[in-house]
Structure formats: structure tokens, C-alpha cells
Homo-oligomer: 333 residues x 2
């Protein structure tokens, strides 16, 4: 086996590491809310749907859990703790197995920060990290028993090709996302998302042991909202207009703005279901829109929204435009 | 299972990360020589002593390899590549298994650099890293098939207690190591080493699958040389005298020098054999003093020796004395 797929995917989308004021760790309350909302569902599914017999663990084989696209904050550790407790309840009547947890993210993720934040006392699992894109293979065949991924699958493996190609109908002139863009741009993003989820499911289909479960928390748009409606006034559009303003001020070049696009796509439940069913590696046990309590007060101020966006996107923007523009860009934003 | 042991061991001995002029990656030619010298031996032992039947791999189970105390340089990747090729030759007549490699070092190791240096194209194994002290448990029971550790086991889990205790016969006044010190100091180091190796072997005894092999490359002193002879003029003694000079110049306090000791011990083959046999978890298949070719030209200049020592010890010295003294200390050295 050659880990070929790893080389096909750009490794440029890690979010801000460390724990400074612009770090993801300090600006991911929204993700925490999502995790909390999913907790009950995950507990129920592990209790009701995980089939210990079907897992057919070998003697002394540990339960292996993976968090894909974990980043480096505290949310991943809390999420894993919850999954672990649900699994331990499940094994109450069996000899308690050992647990091994694999934290995955892009090679450029700040794993040093992640390791520094792992609990030392009373940690009930062996921890490991796995660098690389989850759009390719990361683990040996049938070696995982529970896969978790939260707020990560909306990141595309790359910006769709046509979007940065002047000769393509999907060329996205003067914008950095499909928000407010012609239909062709949106479709190019949508196609890329479908391809990426398909690659993700192909890889996990090989890595998950028979009887294993996967819980994916994916930011999405309700089916009832059609694409142009939701997109007006969104963060990417606003950030894009800031970049266009900076272009007009002569700070960044037009070519730079035209070739920059956010590799992010927000799917619809219906679309996602179609992709998963078309892929065929997994059957959907449950699919729900999470009710995130206090969603409206999690990020009350523009300043906090800016910090949140900066934690997510700084590395990506810096790579394309250089780091001189970052402070000014988020100031304007 | 609780990973209790992890909390008992201080996490302060990681060597210099990154790839700057003072990094370990740029100053570890000596370790490269050791690895090259061990290559043939490891190949032979895998070919002759590894018992595939006894490993009794489950269906689709990967071969799991661990490099303990891997640091963050290129040497670890070359060493693993060699082990992998030897294992693949071994499995020539069987279906080729998948391989998963675990790179271990202290939590404070620069894993970000390690991941950045992993080969992307043609890598024939799934990579993961495991943070924590190898003096405690790091992996699930019976989950490893080949364990490798090079130039790491001479690092003690801590400075022996008595050595920094004014009331203890082993108090090591005005020195930073057992070199040139009274017998009691040497014995305190020797006792700590025996305890540490015992903990290491206990942990590995549980983690290595039956039939698995372990290759340990440990810096040691030939049995024929008794302790006071080798120690005069050694690096630690010289570095200690530099610190004492700085104390006389009023740059560092006497108390700081008296409480600083290097947590490093160079064992003897005879002593190591006794510890391993006394522990009882492993049988020794082969034990040899490596013939390192070109040893005398690997580190020809004092400047290079200084860089090498700085890469190894800077973090440790900085933690105790603060970073103001580092440049001046290695200047004097």
C-alpha cells in the first residue's frame, strides 16, 4: 500500500494554532455549541446502534477512535471524552477494552499545541495524532471503530479549477466565494464538494471496521433556502468586498483578488444524502439538523465574529496575499 | 486502563526543534552514523529472528512499528525506512501487510517539524505520532510488532533526587553531572538509570505483541573503562566548568548551578545486560558494541561539537537558568 492520495491534496488550510488572541483555540465557541448539541445524539446512537458482536474485536484489541479535522483546540478533547464515556457505558457488561484515539488534521496543523492541551491526569485513552488530508487514506484497513468529524467537511480539498480560470464559464471575477456569484460558480463548488465527500467516504469505507460507526457534523444550509437567498450579506461576501476595497486602494493587485477563492462549501441535507447514498460505502442511520441552543448569543459582537473568521482564514489568506495585508484586512472587515 | 504513568514523568527534555542553525535536525550527524552502523544488524535480526507465525496477525492487521524518542530530524525517517524495507523482504512470500509507524517523543518535542519532514510521495506506511514519556505506557496492549529507539535511553526520567539535596551524601556541589564527582553521585545516577530502564521494559513488555522484536541503540561506555577514567575532559564536565565560571563572574547564582544537573547516564554493556535480565520481560537475542565508521571525523571542529551540544541541551538549560545566559554559555564553551 502506498499512501498515494496524500500527495494529491494541498496542505494549506490549517487554522490558526497556539492560544494567542487570534488563535482558533480562543475563537471557537461556535464549534463548542455544535459539539454540545450533537452530544445527546452521539450518546443515543452508540447506545442503540453500535453492535459489539459485529465489531468482533481480537483479543486485547483496543477500540480505536479517530477525530478527523480536529484542529488544535479544547473542543476536540471534550468531544472525544464524551464519545469515550458513551463507549464505556456500552461495554459495561463486557471486559472494558483499552482505547486509542487518533487526532487528525492537515500536516500544517499545530499538533504541538494539541499535544500540550491533552489531559495528563486521568486520561483514559492512548493518544496519537495523524497528519494528512482526510480526503485520502490515513489509517490501515478496518482499523477504526468510531470516526468523528466536526465542522471540517465543508473545507474543500481545493478551490474548484474553473473558478480561477479566465476562460472558464465558472470564472469568479471580483469575488472570493460563490456567494452572490453566477450559477456556474456555485455549481463548480458543488461539484468539488461532491467529489471530496466521495473521496472521504471511499477512504473511511476501507478504514472503518465492520460494525463501526461514524458521526459527521457538517455545517449546512436548510433545504428550503435556495442558494442566492442565503448568500447575500454572508461573511465570505463581506470579506471579499474588503479585498476589492483594498484592490481599489492599490494595496493588493486585481490579479491576486481574482485568483483567490475560499475553499469552503455549505451543503444541503438533501444534497449530502444523495452523495452518501450514491457513494454506497455507508448507510445513514440518522441524519438531523442540530438545534444549537443560544446560537444567537454565541457570537454577539462584530469584533468576535472578526476574530473567529481570522482564526479560521488567516493562514489561507496569508499564503495567497502575504502577511502584510492581514491586520489591515481584518481592520476593514 | 488509565495512562497514569504519563503524569509521573517530567516532560522537559525535548531537544531543539525546527531546522535553524541550533536545531537538532541540523546537528545530528553523529546519530546518523550510529543509525548507519546499526542498519546491517537490524536487517539481519529481522531476517533471521522475527517469527511471522508467532506474530499471529489478525486478518488485515497492519504491522505496527514504533520509534521511541524519535526527536524531529531526518534520522528517524531514514531509520524507519530501513526497518520497513527489511520487514517487506521478510514478508516477500506472504501477502504484503500494511504498515503503521508511530513516532514517539516527549510532549514538548517539535512534532510539527517532524510531520513537515515526512515523505509525501511514495511513503509506504501510515504515519502517526504519540506524545509522552517512554518510561510509561504509550500504546495499547500487544499492539506493536517492532520497537526501535536510538540515542534516547541515556536520558533519565529525572535528575536523581539526592544529587540536588544538600543533606544527601550524593549532593553534587559545583558540578552538573557525575563526571569527576564522588562515587555517591555516580551511584545515584546509576540507580536512576536502572529504575528508568526497568520502567521502560515493563511498559514495552506489555505493548509488544508476542513474537515482536525491539532494537535499542544506547550510548554506552566499554566495560573495560572504569568510571573516573572516562569522565575527565568530557563535554558535561566542560559545560559544568563554564557554568561555574559564569557563577564566579556573577552571571548565574551558586544555588542555580548547584541545583542544575544533566539527566543523562552512559551505561556499560555489562550493567545494561544485568538490568534487562533482572527485569525479565525480554530475552536478549543479540547485544553488540557498534563500530561507527569515521567516528573520529564526524565532529571534527570544536564549533560543531558546541552546536551539537546546544541542540541537545539548550531547552534543558534554558528552563533552569532562563534564556539570557544561553548565547554567552555556549560562547564560553
Amino acid at each position: 500500500m502506498e499512501a498515494k492520495s496524500q500527495s494529491l491534496v494541498p496542505e494549506s488550510y490549517a487554522i490558526n494554532g497556539g492560544d494567542g488572541p487570534y488563535s482558533y483555540a480562543q475563537n471557537s465557541l461556535y464549534q463548542r455549541g455544535i459539539m454540545e448539541a450533537a452530544k445527546g445524539m452521539i450518546n443515543e446512537e452508540i447506545a442503540m446502534k453500535l453492535d459489539i458482536q459485529k465489531l468482533s474485536l481480537a483479543a486485547s484489541e483496543p477500540i480505536r477512535i479517530a477525530d478527523l479535522g480536529c484542529s488544535c483546540g479544547a473542543n476536540t478533547i471534550l468531544a472525544i471524552q464524551n464519545i469515550l464515556e458513551a463507549l464505556k457505558r456500552k461495554f459495561r457488561t463486557h471486559p472494558t477494552p483499552e482505547f486509542q484515539v487518533f487526532f487528525n488534521d492537515q500536516v500544517s496543523n499545530d499538533f504541538n499545541s494539541l499535544f500540550a492541551s491533552l489531559p495528563v491526569l486521568g486520561r483514559q485513552y492512548y493518544a496519537a495524532s495523524v497528519p494528512g488530508s482526510f480526503h485520502g487514506r490515513l489509517f490501515p484497513t478496518a482499523s477504526l471503530h468510531f470516526v468523528y468529524s466536526s465542522c471540517a467537511l465543508h473545507w474543500l480539498s481545493k478551490v474548484p479549477k474553473g473558478v480561477v480560470d479566465k476562460t472558464d464559464p465558472a470564472w469568479n471575477e471580483g469575488r472570493i466565494h460563490y456567494t452572490g456569484a453566477p450559477k456556474e460558480v456555485f455549481e463548480a463548488y458543488s461539484d468539488q464538494f461532491a467529489k471530496d465527500i466521495d473521496s472521504f467516504l471511499q477512504a473511511r469505507g476501507k478504514e472503518l471496521a465492520p460494525g463501526g460507526l461514524m458521526a459527521l457534523l457538517i455545517p449546512a444550509i436548510p433545504d428550503v433556502i435556495s442558494h442566492p437567498q442565503i448568500t447575500t450579506g454572508s461573511e465570505p461576501e463581506l470579506l471579499g468586498s474588503c479585498l476589492v476595497d483594498m484592490e481599489k486602494m492599490g494595496i493588493v493587485s486585481e490579479a491576486k483578488v481574482d485568483t483567490f477563492n475560499l475553499p469552503i462549501y455549505f451543503t444541503y441535507p438533501k444534497e449530502l444524502r444523495q452523495i452518501i447514498e450514491g457513494n454506497g460505502c455507508f448507510s445513514i442511520k440518522r441524519m438531523e439538523i442540530l438545534n444549537i441552543p443560544k446560537q444567537h448569543i454565541v457570537m454577539p459582537e462584530p469584533r468576535q465574529r472578526t476574530l473567529y473568521l481570522r482564526a479560521l482564514l488567516e493562514a489561507l489568506i496569508e499564503k495567497h496575499f502575504g502577511n502584510e495585508i492581514i491586520d489591515q484586512l481584518f481592520e476593514i472587515y
